[in-house]
Subunit: 166 residues, 2 copies
């Protein structure tokens, strides 16, 4: 429980200084971001976003999976966002393994059949990022006039690289 207790202690400080001027449910900047779960990416900080500004959707890789599309559809159709960022990053863990190797290891280690477990590793960040943007554009439930920008965060420098906007 040590980690939980540390975070609850930190949260008491956060709550003690909490600004109680009520923020609205819809993001004030009408922005939704899809980004990798990587610990080195503090997304709000490196984009200069404040609490209340944007929806932040994150998963392993920063991929536009079906579940990320579910979140984006809810974001734009129910909560009014009008611009999307997709952010992958250098030195991503997803570049470091083969799906079949991990499936075989998990099957061996756990005794459960992992052969159907999709993990979606990739080899080329730029190509993968562009493919994610296409998945947004092909979703019939996301208006075609919502711009989607693909960016790469450089974990070595903190810099964002603009790759493509569609």
């Amino acid at each position: 429980m040590a980690m939980l207790e540390q975070c609850l202690e930190k949260n008491r400080l956060y709550a003690a200084q909490f600004d109680r001027s009520k923020l609205a449910m819809p993001p004030s900047k009408k922005l939704a971001v899809v980004a990798c779960m990587d610990a080195r990416m503090t997304v709000e900080d490196f984009l200069g976003l404040r609490t209340g500004d944007a929806h932040i959707i994150r998963n392993a890789g920063g991929l536009v999976t079906d579940d990320a599309l579910r979140s984006l559809v809810i974001s734009c159709q129910l909560l009014g966002t009008r611009e999307f960022f997709v952010i992958e990053h250098t030195d991503c863990g997803m570049l470091t393994f083969e799906e079949a190797d991990v499936q075989a290891k998990l099957s061996r280690d756990t005794g459960a059949d992992a052969s159907g477990l999709k993990l979606y590793p990739f080899k080329d960040i730029h190509a993968n990022l562009k493919a994610q943007l296409r998945k947004i554009r092909e979703c019939p439930f996301i208006p075609a006039d919502i711009p989607a920008h693909g960016l790469i965060f450089h974990v070595e420098s903190g810099e964002l690289e603009q790759v493509e906007s569609i």
Copy 2:
């Protein structure tokens, strides 16, 4: 492009002050967090986490979907995390709609058939949160000795409520 340009401008300031002491790829606190995408939740801030500490996985609702499980499996099996938090919150957008209503509206508005589009709204935060913890425990590829803590973030006060640990 205004929003993108604003964020790129803010990112230049971030990068100019970036601490280049290299952070490791595995999260230093061995923690993974699943939380809602809600704009009012700046997860790292209200947990007192720093860049490099934890994987952050986020989607509409803070749900342990198949894609969140994919991320958690990668997190613990490949990148060494040993503790999970699942964080839902008060005043969640997912409490405000019926799936069938939104499916019907999207079908009408877009001309594409949205009847199979799963959105996973819910009615009871506590019950929903406990169900998410069970999905972690039932995943054969997540070690049973990784504790999973369910928490509710109160958007009115900034406080975290502990609900269940399994």
